[in-house]
């Protein structure tokens, strides 16, 4: 199998944080959501893939090639969108585009102008005058205008209102209609991923919790609700995380069937959302 992105045992140590043997794979034509709480290691992983940070160990292959040895060739085929605007704010959209375009072999001005029109962006506008949402759209226009095969996005929807977020998700959905393109999308807004992602990779405290197809995850994980009288040392072990209140408990389990056999009709079992999975896993 040829993977578009392959990360194996990626390790990076900081004074107070360690990215510990992170591994996952992304096939062409799919969207992978990269979820985790703030400080879990999402941005660090992306910076390592983009060779902005130097890895201490492990391997990163993009389009089957080493990301450092073939850095220039690989980056020609990657479109990137970061959580903040790292543009020269004194320049206009047109000037910034002209700088960025000169680095890419496959830059398509017609496509860029189409995106500007779709996103309602004026090329004569200075970047510092753009709102956060407009800057994000501009980033996206730049990332999509050189026929990139892999789009890497670090929290692109964070801080955006639901209307902007939905627009961006629709754009990504259209991009993915080309079966050769893939999107790697980090976020802590998990509802965005429930709409568009094919795979979910969950990272917590620098370690991968799981990397699986979204449908498998949503099918396997369940939220169980019941009375606290059902909880004892043995039954607690079945839960990934439990939240107890005055009226009962709610807990996340990976195998809902086992719980059904254990508690029968004394509990209510519901499908877990990605947010449930993230919250219960992080809190424990």
């Amino acid at each position: 199998m040829d993977y578009i992105l392959e990360v194996k045992d990626l390790t990076k140590k900081f004074e107070s944080f360690k990215l510990d043997k992170v591994s996952f794979k992304l096939e062409p034509g799919y969207i992978m959501g990269f979820i985790g709480p703030n400080g879990a290691g999402k941005s660090t992983t992306i910076k390592l893939i983009m060779n902005l940070l130097k890895k201490d160990g492990g391997e990163v292959k993009v389009f089957g090639k080493d990301h450092i040895q073939f850095e220039k060739e690989i980056k020609n085929r990657i479109g990137f969108v970061y959580d903040e605007s790292y543009f020269y704010e004194d320049l206009t959209i047109g000037q910034m585009k002209s700088i960025v375009a000169s680095f890419y072999k496959g830059w398509d001005d017609t496509l860029f102008n189409k995106y500007l029109k779709d996103f309602d962006l004026n090329p004569k506008m200075k970047i510092k005058k753009l709102s956060k949402g407009m800057k994000m759209k501009f980033s996206l226009a730049l990332a999509l205008s050189h026929n990139a095969d892999l789009i890497i996005m670090d929290e692109p929807t964070s801080g955006l209102d639901p209307v902007f977020r939905r627009e961006i998700l629709d754009i990504l959905y259209n991009v993915i209609q080309d079966e050769n393109k893939s999107i790697f999308f980090s976020t802590h807004i998990t509802t965005d991923l429930e709409k568009i992602a094919d795979y979910i990779t969950f990272i917590n405290k620098g370690k991968i919790v799981f990397s699986k197809p979204k449908d498998d995850i949503l099918e396997n994980y369940s939220v169980v609700k019941g009375g606290t009288n059902l909880l004892d040392a043995d039954t607690r072990k079945e839960f990934i995380g439990i939240r107890e209140t005055g009226v009962g408990f709610e807990g996340l389990v990976e195998n809902g069937q086992k719980i059904k056999e254990l508690f029968g009709s004394q509990v209510l079992i519901e499908k877990a959302s990605l947010e449930d999975i993230m919250v219960y896993t992080v809190r424990g």
Binding site: K47, M50, N51, L52, L53, K54, E71, K72, E73, I74, K75, N76, I78, F80, Y82, E84, S85, Y86, F87, Y88, E89, D90, L91, T92, Q95, S98, I99, V100, S102, F103, Y104, K105
Partner: protein, 212 residues
């Protein structure tokens, strides 16, 4: 490299502070400093312009963290370093032309009688900026931006003092106590040596740096 040149030129002419610097620096020197007390004013202006214009693009990375965006484009870190050093010559030529035209106009108007083109001063200015920037640039490629900026200010003040106080050591290599060891060696060869070592050092430093 075309993209990097395009970036620097776009930035130079789209920022008000840069335009103020370009326009006001020459008259500031001419009217604030007595040309008799500083006979090599042309040299000082030439060196300052080249030094500042080469360093200014780094300041954008400090303010907007643009290096993260830039380093995500298809360009190798090594190429960015090499361009930065080559840009010294681009800015030097720009400074010679710009300062020349500016000073020529000042002469023409009759404000002050100053050099506007002096080959012997140009021959001294080039190795000087090569050395001063060879010392400064590695700091920007490795240290945190603010510390690098402080280091740059320190180097520039040192350079300015040498130019204004101990200029004869520079003009006549070998007469000053420090530079006497280089007696008989063309300054451009000394500068070239420092320049090449600095490029190698900067490449090593930048290629292993974490960009955050």
């Amino acid at each position: 490299m075309l993209g990097l040149i395009k970036r620097d030129l776009n930035l130079m002419f789209s920022n008000k502070q840069n335009i103020f610097f370009l326009v006001l620096y020459v008259p500031f020197f001419l009217f604030m400093i007595d040309t008799k007390s500083m006979p090599h004013l042309y040299l000082v202006i030439l060196v300052t312009y080249t030094h500042m214009l080469t360093i200014i693009p780094f300041s954008y990375d400090i303010t907007y963290k643009t290096h993260l965006m830039f380093q995500s484009l298809p360009i190798k870190r090594r190429d960015i370093v090499i361009y930065k050093y080559l840009s010294i010559f681009i800015y030097f030529i720009f400074a010679v032309v710009y300062v020349g035209v500016y000073m020529w106009i000042i002469n023409l108007i009759g404000f002050k009688n100053v050099d506007y083109f002096n080959v012997s001063m140009i021959k001294i200015a080039l190795p000087l900026v090569m050395v001063s920037l060879s010392i400064t640039i590695p700091a920007y490629f490795r240290l945190s931006p603010k510390i690098a900026q402080i280091f740059n200010i320190f180097i520039y003040i040192l350079l300015f003092n040498i130019l204004s106080i101990n200029i004869n050591s520079i003009v006549n290599v070998g007469t000053g106590p420090i530079l006497s060891i280089f007696k008989g060696i063309n300054p451009i060869f000394i500068a070239l040596g420092v320049f090449v070592l600095s490029i190698i050092l900067s490449i090593k430093l930048y290629e292993t740096k974490d960009l955050a």
